[in-house]
Structure formats: C-alpha cells, structure tokens
C-alpha cells in the first residue's frame, strides 16, 4: 500500500476560507449522526445516478407474529441478531463496493469491539472476490473522517489479536482522510476514484 499525504486527497473544490485540515461545515455541526450522514450521501449518489449503495436492514430473529383480523401482521417477539456482513453494499461503475461505518468519541484510536470476527471474515471474502471493501471511521471529537481499506483493517486485526483498539496513527498511515462537506456529506467515492480505481493503489 502506498501512503499519500492527506492534504493531496482533500477535495479540490474546498472553499479557500477553510484554513485547516478540519471541515468547517459538516454533518456534526448540523447535529446529524455519522450513519445519517452516510445515508444522505448514498441518497445523493442514488438520486444523481452516481452509485447505488444501500444500508442493509438490521438482522432480526422473529419468534412470534400475530395476524390480527383486518390488520397487518404484527411481530410481538423478536430479537436483534449480530450482523454477519458489513452494513453497506452496492455498485459503482460496475464494481462491487462494501463497507462498514463506525464512529467514536475517542481521540487517538478506534475501539476494535466495533468490528466482529465474522465481519472481518466477510471482508476477507469480499477482497478475495476483488470487491472494493473498506471502513469509514469517524472521530467525532476530532471531526475527522477516514477511509481505511479493508485490507489494512484485516492486517491490523490479524497481527494485533487481542488488542482493544486501532491507533489513529495507523489509520492515518494506511488510510485516507475524507473531506466532509455539505453535499454530499461524506464523499467516499472521491477516495475510490482517486486511490482505488485510479490505479495508484490496491
């Protein structure tokens, strides 16, 4: 993996008034969660025929359903199941893309408990099939968002078994900062264009 200075991948259209590396307008300022910002980003991409990416429904184990007369079926007992894949998947320029998004208030690392062993396994499978697989990591206190290729997460996970968190330094070294903006809010396809499909990295 080739590492790039983060400033090189910052959005070129960023207004001149942005003096530092942190975005001045983003979803956090607007009181929006990272997940909501990603969903809005996906809606933006979909509405402009740029990409089709959806969040998968939460997996639920249904135990009991009532079928009231003249009314729709009502689930009365069900439980949350752990996801066996990542949350987001879709298609961009014919390619399969697959990612997970995580947010933390910590300033120096991302807790690894955010990723389950079977999600890591899923990422390994996707990479073997030449899918574009990554994680979007948002550090809410720092207001910084990173695109980390799944290969870097898998490597870290395998080498650091038992470690409780992935240092921000590692993420900065192996990933790319995503310049959040107002529209789309988390333009992760820019990173895919520049760093993955651009051919200068895999």
């Amino acid at each position: 993996m080739v590492n790039y200075p983060h400033h090189l991948i910052r959005k070129q259209a960023a207004p001149a008034s942005r003096k530092n590396t942190k975005s001045t307008i983003n979803f956090a300022n607007r009181g929006m969660s990272f997940e909501a910002a990603i969903n809005e980003t996906n809606n933006y991409y979909l509405s402009r025929d740029i990409a089709v990416v959806h969040k998968k429904p939460t997996p639920i184990q249904i135990v009991k359903v009532d079928y009231p007369k003249r009314s729709r079926a009502k689930i009365v007992e069900a439980y949350f199941r752990q996801a066996s894949t990542t949350d987001y998947s879709g298609v961009y320029k014919g390619r399969y893309i697959d990612f997970e998004a995580k947010e933390t208030r910590q300033k120096t690392s991302m807790p690894l408990k955010n990723f389950h062993a079977h999600q890591i396994e899923h990422m390994k499978h996707v990479l073997k099939q030449d899918g574009i697989c990554f994680v979007l990591l948002h550090f809410s206190t720092l207001k910084e968002t990173y695109f980390l290729p799944a290969s870097a997460l898998v490597d870290f996970y395998q080498i650091n078994l038992g470690t409780k968190s992935m240092p921000l330094d590692y993420i900065r070294k192996n990933g790319y900062m995503v310049t959040t903006s107002s529209l789309p809010q988390v333009p992760y396809l820019d990173i895919i264009d520049q760093k993955i499909l651009g051919g200068d990295h895999n």
Copy 2:
C-alpha cells in the same frame, strides 16, 4: 439481446441419464423451497471462494423494544416493511451482482405481483451502474428454473403496465434455463459466465 437455444446452455456435465430438459435431481425433489436452494447455492459459492452473495435481512419497522434486566433486548412490537431493493446481492469476479428469486406453481406465466414498482426502479438503477442484475424464476410445477436478465423484466414491466403476469414464453425467449443440480443446486453463476461475462450478450 441475443437469444440462445436453451439446450446450448445446459450444464455440460449433466449425466447422460437425463433424457429430457428437466432436471431429475433437484431441490424440489428433496422437498426444499427455492429460497432455501438459493441460500445453499450461495453457501456453496462462499465456502469455495467462488462468490460472496448474501440474502439481505427482511426489513422490519421496530416500534417497541423491552430491555429486561440481565437479558437481551426483546422487540415486542414491530412490522414487516416492503423491501425497496432486491433480496440478494454480492460480488463475483469484482462485479456487483444483484437479483431477486421468485417461485410460482403456475405453468404458463409468472405473476407480476411478485415484483414491486420500487424493486423495478432499483433494478433500473443497478443496470445504469453496470451491475449484473437479473431474476431467478422457478416454476415449481414444471420443475424449471430460468435466469432472466433484469433488462428483460424492466422492458416487459414498462411495456405491459397493468398486465398481471409475464408469460413463460417471454421468459424462455429472453432468458436462460438454469439446470438445477445437486451441488450447487441453482448454479446461476454458470449463466453469468456463459452469457453475461462471456461477452456474447448484455
């Protein structure tokens, strides 16, 4: 779209004892539903690193959750939501694949009520992004399974608005028969290899 005689795409490794165009061993003979057969097929592909395809969880609208002490969260009121995308998606040779699977007991047509308007919209979006999109249609009484490119379904749907079903003749003319077997049971990737990625059709 180029149409091929169905016998040309039948599995070459089919045992000589199969005298007609219908499979003699398949999931139906084993009392298995079409959906279960597809899930097993996907497990087969996954376990052999051939493709990563998962069924999306059923979308559920959660209204009320109880959090009992010393016990996991229990959903006590929830409702089924209509799917806005197709049921299956994944990656094969780097390409995004996306499909819906439907079964009917009818012998001459597939009821269109099986496909919702927003699923058709989703298919159109996927096709625009150059994803490999199709439907797998199983006629349980006939014991015949077809791979119909989504473009053919979308065309039919748009031209025949208000029609209640899609004739089997149309499916045979615009799709490909899938030779069901014992392992994998619904080898739809064979059709993708031969008809979609083979370059003789789009």
